[in-house]
Subunit: 341 residues, 2 copies
Amino acid sequence: MQNSPKKPATIEDVARLAGVSIATVSRAISKPEKVADSTRKKVNAAIARTGYTANAMAQNLRRQRSHMVLVLAESISDPNFPGVLTGLEKVANARGYGVLIGNTEGDVAVEEKYLRFLSTGMADGLILLTGHLPVAGWPDNSKSLIPPTVAAATPIEHANISYVCTDDQSAARVATEYLMSLGHRRIVYVAGPKGSILSERRLKGYCDALAQASEPISIWKVDGDGTSLGGRAAVERLFIRDTLPTAFFCFNDNTAIGVIGALQDRGIDVPRDMSVLGFDDIPFANNITPSLTTIRQPRSQIGEYAMTALLDRLAQPATPVQTSELHGDLIVRNSCAGVKT
Amino acid sequence: MQNSPKKPATIEDVARLAGVSIATVSRAISKPEKVADSTRKKVNAAIARTGYTANAMAQNLRRQRSHMVLVLAESISDPNFPGVLTGLEKVANARGYGVLIGNTEGDVAVEEKYLRFLSTGMADGLILLTGHLPVAGWPDNSKSLIPPTVAAATPIEHANISYVCTDDQSAARVATEYLMSLGHRRIVYVAGPKGSILSERRLKGYCDALAQASEPISIWKVDGDGTSLGGRAAVERLFIRDTLPTAFFCFNDNTAIGVIGALQDRGIDVPRDMSVLGFDDIPFANNITPSLTTIRQPRSQIGEYAMTALLDRLAQPATPVQTSELHGDLIVRNSCAGVKT
DNA sequence: CTATTTTATGTAAAGGTTTTCATTGCTGTA
DNA sequence: TACAGCAATGAAAACCTTTACATAAAATAG
């Protein structure tokens, strides 16, 4: 109720009001059992009266910890991002950490800026959603100290970096097997961006499934770029040929949506005439017509695991680098059907 | 090239190496013109050799500024969020500020947690994307100091808070006029969530347009909730009645997508039989069939304006509270057509 | 009742900057 | 020649905590 003071209260104000030393106030807050009941009560009363909150910067400076984690993302518009971030935030908050987001848009200069930021000590750890090291050779030949790092959603193979992502290969195998179980034999894989590790991993699963078939089925891969436009373009290129596939397994849902759109434009009914299967289970997968059969990435879980791995490492630097591949479920909706006889 | 040191270099290390005092090092960095050329060169060399980066916490403590802004969002999955955030980040980064994101999911406890966080001084300012004050009565009856605040995307009417958002009313009027120009006279407004300020603002614009018509057109409003399911439900309820609308103006694109889906399920062709118009121009608006005619919210611009307003206020506390309503464009695609004769 | 341990508190250093103020050595003017 | 003014630098205070160490008082053991 006091008229708002110009300056926020410091620990010294509290100490004076409570008639104790600042050390006692500090202890009353952080190690209450170390302080006498009566004093603790006085201190708490003083805190309440002054509206005191400890200055985080002073704490951080003293403790040499910022209790912040930097998340570097290629693009926050990526439909997978919100889910992963939710998971990241959930465990970060639970453990008293804040989450800082850096949106790089693939710009190396921006990445470097965030790296410098990191070296100012404003963050204790780094989560990479970019799928690559911030700068070539980092951290090995970097002058500055680098903090614990974990890659999420897209794996990064590096001795010093844990990663957690979907088990793309198994999931892609399951997806392809599902199409095969519907009778499809001409299944095309619409790939992701050139050089995408994720696309390679999914391609492998697709090949695995094909290899297991009783009769031989040949691998059929066309290029894409992970966007719906890329999906459309893939369809256009395919229709120049004589033989057409009966099913599409797409690198991701965006691609699948483009494929479906292009097929519909050509008067082809999905799933009656052709089947389309995606990957990701983005929020919109259920909103298009036909609703999309796809693999669900456990986004939130990926975030939770990644942050847990990072914070464990922060708390206990000796914790070994570990990688987890999480299971992705096949979500059956209406974009796949039995092959036309 | 030196073997990585256990501890990061401090300003003292640099000073020793350069043979000057720490004050000079500090000046050489922040006010280069205040220091002799020869010394500056020595200092820079020392900085390069040590790989020194100033400890941000110590700087912040001393300067009483964290150079961080907290962005409180209801949900980072909101399709408008990435665009706004991009704008926010753009100007924040350009002006040396970091952006911290708090995802409240509408949980008051979480909001309060972030508010406490704010009062620790870890952020200098607050951007509210939530559409409401963090806690009832805040900041008026709050004990703790509250930092400069601006609301973005959803206006908050408060004497102490600037806001920047789309000029919903004008945009909604333009949208409705467009439908009228196509010959529609039975236009239904599918509202947003109960009590949504945004929905009210758009409703007003819709009414404005109707009021201007040469012949009287009656207002027709049905409930929705801002989701595609809400849109579907609205259609179901509508089809119990005798008279049907010829056009839908929807609170947002998600609603519109639900409406289109429900209409298609009933065998109604959009736009031949009925027209549907959305609001937002979310990334997916172009990916559905038919592609969605809608109002584009200038998301990135909203973010830029909001952050500019906040940082201006931070730099110059006397800057008056100001509100901006930005123009939203009508994006004509394929979900609206002339009324059937 | 003394000697020892335990408990509660205070003092002061440390954490890494920025910035005010004081000092030194010049340059140029009277 | 002396002095004002200026440029370059350094010493030290301030920012606000946490915590190691010291001290005093109280409890326990012998």
